[in-house]
């Protein structure tokens, strides 16, 4: 092979090695220490036809539950360290504790513990994409059901 051909082959091999290194580096998810946890406590009921305008981003998700009325009772956001507790007071004397178990830039695992007066109601561990949310509901409240939207974003 001529000299320019050899050089081209070396350049090509070096470049492929760079590609692999950058791909592996990107694929290796970095660990995020801070997680922003946002909750929304929503009263879903069949009294009236109110749909709280502040719940517009969740409208499609909430309407899966076939209630006629949805009202935002409380919205709160907290930043928490991995393995740290974010505690939220929930209407009805309940308390929600969210603990990020594992947090990468893409996926998070959250331990969610809901209690009322020291009595546990639910304890669950959920894995979701950063920025994603899920709904936890069914607790009776003011003639309807309490639904809690929980979202978490790695910072």
């Amino acid at each position: 092979m001529s000299l320019p051909g050899k050089r081209a082959r070396r350049v090509l091999l070096f470049s492929i090695a760079c590609c692999l290194v950058s791909a592996l580096g990107g694929a290796a998810e970095t660990t995020s220490q801070i997680v922003q946890v946002k909750i929304g406590a929503i009263l879903a009921s069949n009294k009236g036809d109110e749909f709280d305008a502040r719940l517009a981003p969740l409208e499609k998700q909430l309407k899966l539950m076939k209630y006629r009325s949805y009202r935002l009772l409380k919205e709160e956001s907290q930043k928490v360290q991995r393995k740290g507790n974010a505690t939220f007071d929930i209407p009805g004397g309940r308390s929600l504790v969210v603990t990020p178990q594992e947090s990468g830039t893409k996926q998070l695992a959250l331990r969610v513990h809901l209690q009322q007066g020291g009595k546990p109601l639910t304890d669950t561990t959920v894995r979701l994409d950063s920025g994603g949310n899920f709904l936890l509901g069914g607790y009776p409240h003011e003639g309807g059901a309490l639904v809690i939207s929980i979202s978490a974003t790695a910072q």
Partner: protein, 182 residues
């Protein structure tokens, strides 16, 4: 002419061309010093080789270049259009050494782009469609029933807790839902 002379003359051509081993070369050289007939043969052979060389020198044909050169000059001096420049640039770029840089460079840039978007804007729309589904790894509802709904269109996960039968919720004294309402 002796048999030895005949043998020497058979190898005279190879001797003149320097194709013999050193010992064979010396053997012929010593013989030539003592044999006038063979020296004459060598002279004739050298003369023949010189004549052949003269004949084999190529004589340029009498092609007329008068009409050719003005055409070349015209093409050199003519201003190339942007289109021709672009084509030339693309042709140079696709030549193997440049292409070796270009292909991996594009791949690296694409990879960096994707990973950077995800790193700097986690969960952003620019970083691609997020899968909003949540996976429930474990759940303890402390005696209540649990229903998990995963809805494909909105990629929603709902965890719904309810009492087995309609009745008082012990903790609140409120009526509990009999089951999921979705």
């Amino acid at each position: 002419m002796t048999n030895r002379c005949e043998d020497m003359r058979d190898r005279m051509g190879a001797w003149l061309d320097g194709e013999l081993s050193r010992s064979r070369f010396e053997e012929i050289r010593v013989h030539l010093e003592s044999c006038s007939a063979c020296r004459e043969e060598r002279r004739q052979l050298e003369k023949l080789q010189a004549s052949l060389k003269e004949l084999l020198v190529a004589v340029p044909s009498n092609v007329s270049f008068e009409r050719f050169w003005p055409g070349v000059e015209q093409r050199i001096e003519r201003q190339r259009s942007w289109y021709e420049n672009l084509l030339g640039w693309a042709r140079d770029l696709s030549a193997p050494p440049q292409l070796a840089w270009a292909v991996p460079a594009v791949i690296v840039l694409l990879l960096l782009g994707v990973f950077s978007l995800e790193s700097f804007f986690p969960g952003s729309r620019l970083a691609g469609q997020r899968n909003n589904f949540a996976n429930v790894e474990s759940i303890d509802a402390f005696g209540r029933n649990v229903a998990v709904l995963r809805e494909n269109e909105t990629k929603t996960t709902i965890i719904w807790l309810y009492q087995n039968q309609e009745g008082e919720d012990e903790s609140t004294g409120e009526k509990s839902e009999a089951g999921p309402s979705f």
